[in-house]
């Protein structure tokens, strides 16, 4: 996920950057740290991990979340920059412009959301086929659904209605907070089928 985040950033974030690399690097680093510190174990389910469906499910989920992570970085920087401009102190030379951050956030959502959607659909199909009764009551499945709804709302406002600006950035940042909870919090606190990752 760190790789995807940094890759997307390099791809989309051409031109002015100043100050954003820091946030991206920090997040990428904490993902890697997290990945190496968190308990790892193999998940069960015979035949579940075979075939093309499972890799498709996890890869598109991860690409999707990489996109969300980048939109989080740029939205967070947007909020900070907004605060700086509101404070009326100094020139702020060397910081990225609001418009650039907004655009970056837009693009990364545009890439992240379709992949995440694909990942969820594949996951649902997978669960229905290989696990009796499906995973409808798995906490992570429910969380992922909620997350999809939230991001769908953000994407609809951005792409469908053409909104931008501070509030949407705030929402994007909060969306990522929920993502981190669904992704890690549920694993660590509640358990369930996805407990291993």
């Amino acid at each position: 996920m760190s790789l995807i985040l940094v890759g997307l950033f390099l791809l989309l974030g051409k031109g002015e950057k100043g100050g954003l690399e820091g946030v991206v690097a920090l997040l990428a680093f904490s993902f890697m740290l997290g990945a190496s510190l968190l308990p790892s174990k193999r998940i069960g389910g015979e035949g579940l991990l075979e075939g093309v469906w499972f890799p498709l499910h996890s890869v598109s989920c991860f690409v999707g979340m990489g996109g969300f992570a980048l939109s989080f970085c740029s939205s967070l920087t947007y909020l900070l920059q907004d605060m700086r401009i509101k404070c009326k102190k100094g020139y702020l030379v060397g910081y990225p412009s609001l418009e650039f951050l907004d655009r970056l956030s837009l693009y990364s959502l545009g890439i992240g959301f379709p992949f995440y959607t694909l990942g969820i659909i594949v996951g649902a199909v997978l669960a229905k086929r290989s696990i009796p009764g499906g995973l409808w009551d798995d906490p992570k499945t429910i969380g992922a659904g909620l997350l999809w709804l939230l991001y769908a709302f953000i994407v609809y406002r951005r792409f469908g209605l053409g909104w931008r600006g501070r509030r949407l950035s705030l929402l994007t940042v909060m969306g990522f907070g929920l993502l981190m909870f669904v992704f890690l919090g549920i694993n660590l606190l509640l358990g369930g089928h996805h407990a291993a990752f």
Binding site: L98, F100, G165
Partner: protein, 427 residues
């Protein structure tokens, strides 16, 4: 053979060393004067020369061989050029050679030596002086390189420090802030309310920074038209300007209205239609035109004249720090130039060594028996092989020479190599 950098010499005076009357007497106010001066320079012992004459300085940059009293010689030249006796100005001159002279030129080009540090004209004046000297034919290999470097240094300082932000004016700050919000201003729409001088200036700055359409509105339609014509904008009726707020990006306001003409309600009404697009309001009026409360609205940024002036003042302080950054750049570049200069000393040796090796290679190729040589493929292969061997063998020697050039041992290293390979006539 071996050159010394102190052949680059500077003689001059500026606003710090000489009073205005003297600077006037010694200056070259017209191009004609400059031409005459340069032609006279051509007949003197000076090898190369450029005359820089601005209202604050007169400087002669020359390449001059090893004479006993070089300063006296140059003063004599200047005295003859302007018909002013030497005693009158001698004490006000500065004389620098070698690295000192290079450093001075680079500081001048970076506008560090100017009366108003950071003023932008000097680089252009320097280019003109150089261009004219080139036309007359007093610029040679060395000054050519030196001045090209000086232009580069001037640009680099401007690019890498804020020293060039000489204009610490309110409208400049406003444009900088707009860039922090919108990135480049290309295609951004600007609404100007009122038609004062301040508005005009700010609008011109925005336009110069790339802003797109500019709309002008005023209670008096005639004045709106006038300003619109001056800044190539479009006049719009005053009654409808609040509606326009829906789709402009920057608003500059400076009317004589006694109270707020733009209130919080006006803006919160249209914010939904803007869909979160940032709006940058610049209030240049005293008393203010725009209710400061609007700054609290999302995606609306209001700066009034006090805010902008505060930042401008802060900036003036920062510029002093920028000057020290610029000095560092100048130092770096002086070092680079001096490295380049010293590397010149080893170039002839490198050339000679190459020629010597090539001669040997050719001779040995001649010795190859005819049956090998007659086969073009074989011959080609042998040529390449011998070239490769020669180059590989000489490579460490070239490295040695270049290293010598970089750490100040050019002369010693060159002599050693020449002695080792028996180059040159003296052996």
């Amino acid at each position: 053979m071996i050159r010394a950098m102190n052949e680059i010499v500077l003689l001059g005076l500026n606003h710090k060393t000489a009073p205005l009357e003297l600077r006037e007497k010694l200056s070259f106010p017209t191009e004609e004067d400059l031409r005459k001066g340069l032609l006279l320079l051509k007949t003197s012992p000076v090898e190369e020369g450029v005359i820089l004459s601005t209202c604050n300085r007169v400087e002669l940059y020359v390449v001059l061989g090893a004479y006993t009293d070089r300063r006296g010689l140059l003063e004599g030249v200047l005295s003859r050029m302007k018909g002013v006796p030497r005693e009158e100005f001698s004490s006000c001159l500065y004389y620098k050679e070698g690295e000192e002279a290079v450093r001075h030129l680079f500081s001048v080009a970076s506008s560090l030596d100017s009366m108003v540090v950071g003023e932008p004209q000097i680089l252009g004046q320097l280019k003109e002086a150089y261009g004219l000297a080139k036309e007359i034919g007093t610029v040679g290999f060395l000054l050519n390189r030196l001045f090209q470097r000086a232009f580069f240094v001037g640009k680099r300082v401007r690019r890498e420090t804020l020293i060039g932000d000489g204009d610490v004016s309110v409208s400049f700050v406003a444009v900088e802030l707009a860039k922090r919000i919108f990135g480049d201003l290309k295609g951004k729409r600007v609404l100007v309310i009122g038609a004062g001088e301040m508005c005009e200036l700010a609008a011109k700055h925005l336009k110069a920074a790339g802003a797109g359409e500019i709309f002008v509105t005023n209670r008096t339609w005639q004045r709106a038209l006038e300003l619109a014509r001056q800044i190539q904008g479009q006049a719009v009726p005053f009654e409808g300007f609040r509606e326009m707020l829906k789709d402009v990006d920057v608003v500059i306001s400076s009317t004589g209205a006694p109270s707020f003409i733009l209130k919080k309600e006006d803006l919160s009404r249209i914010l939904k239609a803007r869909r979160g697009a940032p709006l940058f309001l610049i209030d240049l009026a005293v008393p203010r035109d725009i209710d400061p409360e609007v700054h609290k609205l999302d995606d609306v940024y209001l700066y009034d004249i006090d805010d902008l002036e505060g930042i401008a003042l802060e900036n003036a302080k920062e510029r002093l720090q920028e000057a020290s950054k610029a000095l560092q750049i100048v130092e770096e570049e002086v070092k680079k130039f001096s490295d380049w200069y010293t590397s010149l000393e080893v170039v002839p040796t490198i050339k000679e060594l190459k020629a010597w090796a090539e001669a040997i290679r050719k001779r040995e190729m001649e010795q190859v028996p005819y049956e090998f040589k007659s086969d073009p493929v074989l011959r080609e292969a042998m040529e390449r092989l011998s070239e490769r061997v020669v180059n590989k063998l000489l490579h460490p020697v070239f490295c040695f020479l270049k290293k010598g050039a970089l750490n100040g041992n050019a002369k010693r290293h060159a002599e050693l190599v020449r002695w080792l390979f028996g180059l040159g006539k003296e052996d």
